[in-house]
Amino acid sequence: MAEYLIRNGFVFDPVSGVNGDRKDIAVKDGKIVESVSPSAKVFDAAGKTVMAGAVEIHAHIAGPKVNEGRNYRPEDKLFNAASGVGGMRTTGGFSIPTTFKTGYNYAKMGYTTAIEAAMPPLYARHVHEEIRDTPIIDEGALPVFGNNWFVLEYLKNRELENTAAYISWLLRASKGYGVKVVNPGGTEAWGWGLNCLTVNDPVPYFDITPAQIVRGLIEANEYLGLPHSMHIHANNLGNPGNYTTTLDTFRLAEGFKANNRFGREQTMHHTHVQFHSYGGDTWGNFESKSDEIIDYVNTHPNLTIDTGNVTLDETTTMTADGPFEHHLTELNHLKWANVDVELETAAGIVPYVYSPDIKVCAIQWAIGLELGLLAKDPMRCFITTDHPNAGPFTRYPRIIKWLMSKEAREERLNTFKHAEKVIGATLLHGIDREITFYELAQMTRAGPAKALGLKDVYGGLAPGMEADIAVYDINPESPFTPDQLEEAFSAAALVIKTGLPVVENGVVINNGNKRTLWVDAKVNENPQVMRDVEEKFLKYYSVTLNNYEVQGHHYIPNPYAIQVDATQ
């Protein structure tokens, strides 16, 4: 394989503690190395910013829910379809882009790894087919466990080993990466037309509470020693006053210790916290409670979060939180899709327009930024848009601009239709902090990689790590405008993925060599769980086991399996 030398850029790499020094980065055989031979191809990065490839910890970018969004929103592709040039493929879509556009757009922004945030195990084959068709970026997918009948039954009976054995089996069957929980118990309750809005609301029939589900899954996650922690979208998303439910959820992780060989320290990752940081009790007195939320996060190192920034765009909300999507369509009267996934989960989809003229939307926008700015440890607070729920991931450069420039966010804040009311209901106006390039690398590279248990692989530029590198055409030592910042992060000057140049001058030039991440967790043989699986497939599932498992080259042509041994 070829050798490359990225010469003389301003390097920001929290993994090796490099903060803006002028350094050369050497690449050989797909890895970062100390030095290369004189025949290495040289990229001149003088006056430019060099970081590791960014890591997306939470986005809905592949699978049946995303595809149903594409299906029922042809208007999302209106006026933005483009035919392929060179070896590239036809692209289209804004909030729910085609798989090819998804891969290209992440790569263009310097993202080289992404986690699909909610995989319904029954449709894991579909998820993996889309992942396979998303070029360049390495991807893993988190199967959802928080409303799964096996899990609910095992946890109700306090059967930890069986829960862990089932997780191990399902990760292998679905080729999943970790344990995702969406509205624990609430989505199952939705099957009865109900919901769980607090951590203590009982789930109908199963007679278990969200608190028991969450604690049980954390325990099983640590029993297995998985690279990632339990990854949760808590109950009561999107409702005024829901911050108390969020704090209650955070507290469920107390008392657990992270047990893994991957250097992960947290036992809970709480996703898109912006949607969970609301005060007030109506839309009229809706306000930010980001301070209360972030105070808890700041003082509890067992927790990582991602922001879920509202980008003020027209987008397509989609989540396995079925009852929430019904609530949303009742609010905005736009088209609603709802799916029940047998014994496992459900999903809903509703288009949504985050308008700067609507007070609530502007407050949501402010809350997302407050979380990023008030978080004391950028290694535990990551930038996301919960794509496409709070906005498309292609707006990351704009969020970066708002986080790194008080001037840019004040300009936005002061031109809202209800600017005064928004300022009154939020903290953003009083926050002076501007995220630095180093902190940005923590929030988008080193931090999420560590939280995923991939700190030795992705998110850094230390020798031995994957050669995923992004070079941005911005000089951190000379003056620049906020818009230049956004522009630079929108189209990287150079992106190298696993040692292969994939983007040059903001243009995708190569379809890359993507891999699918999954976790192969070995446990002791567990005949009871295997018998339960067979029985439930015979009794309830609409498919047989043979048509369920994700196997073979067709689904995962280029696997990257992470081995975990929990046999004892």
Partner: protein, 299 residues
Amino acid sequence: METVTLTIKKAPTLYLEAEIISPDGLAGKTADQIRALPVHMGNEEFTLGEFFDLAGAPGATAEETKVVVTGDLSRVKYLGMKMSGGEMVIESDADMYVGAWMSGGTLTAKGNVDSFAGIGMKGGLLEINGNAGNYTGSAYRGDWRGMQGGKIHVKGNVRSDTGYFMNGGEIVIDGDADVHVGTHAEGGKIVIKGNAKSRLGGQMVEGTIILLGTVDVMMPGFKYVRDEEVDVDGKNMLMSLYVGDLGERHRKRKGEPIYGKLYIRKAAPAAAESREVRLARAREARKARFASPEETASA
């Protein structure tokens, strides 16, 4: 106003997509620049000059430009798309998407046009002298933001789904309308001077439909409320007002729900009487059918 005339010189083998042909697309350009503008057929790009002869010249801006398109345009799509001002005349039949998303100016199609004419229209006047296809003045597939403003005047007939998801503006049809008119409408006004078939205002939330001719089948979601005088082309006509669609949500103003309005010409008294007679007969028949054996016996 300057006039530029485009005459099609060879029929496209497939369909030609020529959204560039509009006052906005041509204004301020030289003849050579216009000939070099892109048009698409299948997955290939061509120049406007390969398909059209050019005469005259455009004005500096769309407002100062009149575009005349002549020849057989029955395989040309998107004529006048997104025009914002000025004038455009299509001398013959045209294919789909005439005047789609237009926001201003006057566009006259002298022949028939195919489907999706004036979809997502925001302003201006679209006159169609012949017939129009399906989805005239509607929303793009999947979108909930249909016609927002402006006026579409079809002198002939329209096919189905006129004014689907209409939010504002006006559509006047001199001829007949096929099924589904004003479906999902949340505003705007549709006048049908000829006859309608069925499903007028299905799932309509707000807006107005005025029907001067007859309707084959009424929607069950509409109820008669009263007779009202309605102004049509400056003439007051006594019409029956039906409101609906009662199956949909309706916002309230001062505690009163706002419904979609469907005006239908008040039936002649003779017809009304015969309807009463017909209903009475149906009632009697029903009674007889459901009467208990004892009652039948005692009767």
